[in-house]
């Protein structure tokens, strides 16, 4: 695809006769454009992609930008697209990739590139601010006496699955709703934040009803459950089956199910509304993701 534009760099210790090598085809560039550059290195046993990228930094390209932290699959910083698949560099072993051809590493496609393999993921942090926060019920007298809330293990297990999330945003990256349709970002929370809402919906203490908000403002109905988020999740969270579909079913309870509606009327179960949920959202922003009108470039105070 970009073979004709790549420039092989081999001055990094590779090239001794007969030595096995790997070719890393890394995206180099920034907001003004970029290209793939090939780096040839000696093959070393037992490495993950991030190790090889670090060797490129240390020997061939000290200014190669890549974001990483724990290198143990626990922080979710080193998200990129390896051979076209959204993956964590620290969790992708070199011996799982074909080495007879160049291994491409490109930045996540859904977010604007900052430089090389690093993208501006502030969209996700903006969405996070618009999730109505945890809203616990008051403690009972017994709980005040015991010193803490009482919750049964079976009641917390479902939400615990979503709290495994390391916020690598690979699910946000792979979701075609925003990957292929930039305009949807203004009204779409994405799989990571559907999982967050599911976590709160299923949290035994949380008292906010988020269903209307999810449907009306956060684009739950834009999700067509093609399950790519589940496929790429490094924590193996069943985002689609355990978060998104249960949320869709809860929305059906709230809006599309006359039987459930009647049941609620009879049982006089009063639940909050979207407006109520929105009211508990942080004061500095509306509950929905706002459409941007005029700003271009990289958002956020941190990018001034």
């Amino acid at each position: 695809m970009a073979d004709d534009t790549t420039t092989p760099r081999t001055d990094g210790g590779a090239g001794a006769a007969g030595e096995r090598t790997v070719t890393m085809r890394l995206w180099r560039g920034d907001a003004s454009g970029g290209e793939f550059v090939d780096y040839v290195l000696p093959a070393v046993e037992g490495e993950v992609v991030l190790d090889v990228v670090h060797r490129v930094q240390a020997t061939l390209a000290p200014d190669l930008a890549c974001r990483w932290n724990c290198k143990a699959g626990k922080c979710g910083s080193c998200s990129t697209e390896i051979n076209g698949k959204p993956s964590l560099m620290c969790m992708t072993r070199m011996d799982t990739l074909p080495t007879d051809e160049a291994i491409t590493v490109a930045p996540m496609k859904t977010f604007p590139v900052l430089r090389d393999l690093v993208t501006d993921v502030s969209y996700n942090y903006e969405v996070a601010k618009r999730i109505p926060p945890f809203n616990p019920r008051p403690k009972t007298d017994d709980e005040v006496a015991a010193g803490g809330y009482r919750m049964q293990q079976i009641d917390v297990e479902r939400s615990q699955e979503f709290r495994k999330c390391i916020e690598c945003y690979l699910c946000q990256d792979v979701c075609h709703v925003i990957r292929d349709h930039e305009e949807n970002k203004t009204a779409y929370a994405g799989p990571r934040f559907f999982a967050r809402s599911a976590e709160l919906e299923m949290h035994p203490l949380d008292a906010t009803d988020r269903r209307e908000l999810l449907q009306e403002e956060q684009g739950l109905n834009k999700c067509n459950i093609t399950k790519c988020c589940t496929e790429v999740c490094p924590e193996h969270i069943k985002i689609t089956d355990n978060a998104i579909i249960p949320l869709k079913e809860r929305v059906v309870d709230a809006r599309y199910d006359p039987v459930a509606w009647l049941g609620r009327k009879i049982l006089r179960r009063t639940k909050g509304t979207a407006a109520a949920a929105a009211a508990t959202a942080p004061a500095h922003g509306p509950a929905a993701v706002q459409p941007a009108v005029e700003v271009t470039g990289i958002p956020g105070p941190q990018r001034r």
Binding site: W27, N83, P107, K109, F111, D155, P204, G285, A292
Partner: protein, 274 residues
């Protein structure tokens, strides 16, 4: 000089330059295999089902063969045109064409709105997206937020209808142990109908709407121990919903094929009786 008061929540900003080359995908694996298989199998099924529904014959192997085998496509057979013995009695008199068409609406609706099949056909037929990290084929995209796709939300009603059919097809399978004029027996056809009914039950019980209605919708399981137990039993089934979806789809067609072959006299339904 700025102070924090100047820094309010910034709106989500569209645009920005994306990295990577402007190509639909960088994937090197054979990502197109899965959608092709889906297209082939689903198309073949729809084509066969359409033909089998309109052909309106050879769907019942009855007393003349000492059998009581009815194709799932034609059960329950409720119209005037039904083959004698194949139905509990004529209930619908105004329907003049194949009775299968009246029946197939329900399983079709169930499968069309099924969370798994939605994934399969959105990917394979609609290319939204064809595979993960492969560009989708549409200029704009609104998902299931508008008519007609908003109707996907009625999945649970098709689920209820599906349950009724499961009961009826289970009765058919039990009836298939009868060998009229001979007694009680067992044949390949009996086995086929039994397996078919089992697979349909597995498909229905592993349904996401079923899992939600049985317990998934609860906030606190500890207050509903029985529903929690049901939910817990359904959860591993749900994890294999895709497998049951394909198996039951293929097998229901095979069941129709088998009954058709027996009813038309092309093959003999081997079996024994007591």
């Amino acid at each position: 000089m700025t102070t924090l008061e100047d820094v309010s929540t910034t709106p989500v900003v569209l645009g920005g330059v994306r990295g990577g080359p402007p190509v639909p995908t960088l994937r090197k694996d054979r990502w197109w295999v899965q959608p092709i298989v889906t297209v082939v199998v689903l198309t073949a099924f729809v084509a066969y089902a359409t033909w089998a529904a309109f052909v309106n014959k050879d769907y019942y192997a009855g007393a003349t063969m000492h059998r009581d085998l009815i194709s799932p496509f034609y059960s329950p057979c409720l119209t005037e045109s039904c083959v004698p013995g194949s139905h509990p009695g004529t209930i619908i008199t105004w329907w003049q064409i194949s009775p299968a068409l009246l029946i197939l609406i329900f399983p079709l609706g169930f499968r069309l709105t099924c969370y798994y099949y939605r994934k399969a056909y959105y990917r394979a037929f609609w290319w939204a997206p064809p595979a993960c990290a492969v560009a989708d084929a549409h200029g704009s995209y609104k998902g299931e937020s508008r008519f007609p796709l908003i109707l996907q939300n009625i999945h649970r009603y098709f689920f209820f209808a599906g349950l009724i059919f499961n009961v009826l097809l289970t009765i058919d399978a039990v009836m298939a142990f009868r060998q009229p004029g001979v007694g009680i027996g067992f044949s390949v056809g009996t086995a086929v109908l039994c397996v078919n009914a089992c697979l349909l039950w597995l498909y229905s019980l592993s349904c996401h709407a079923c899992r939600h209605l049985c317990g998934g919708g609860l906030k606190k399981f500890s207050e509903h121990p029985i529903r929690h137990r049901i939910w817990k039993a359904l959860t591993p089934l749900n994890a294999h919903h895709m497998v049951f979806a394909w198996m039951s789809l293929v097998f229901v067609a095979l069941t129709d094929v088998y009954v058709r072959l027996v009813a038309s006299g092309a093959i003999h339904d081997y079996g024994f009786h007591f």
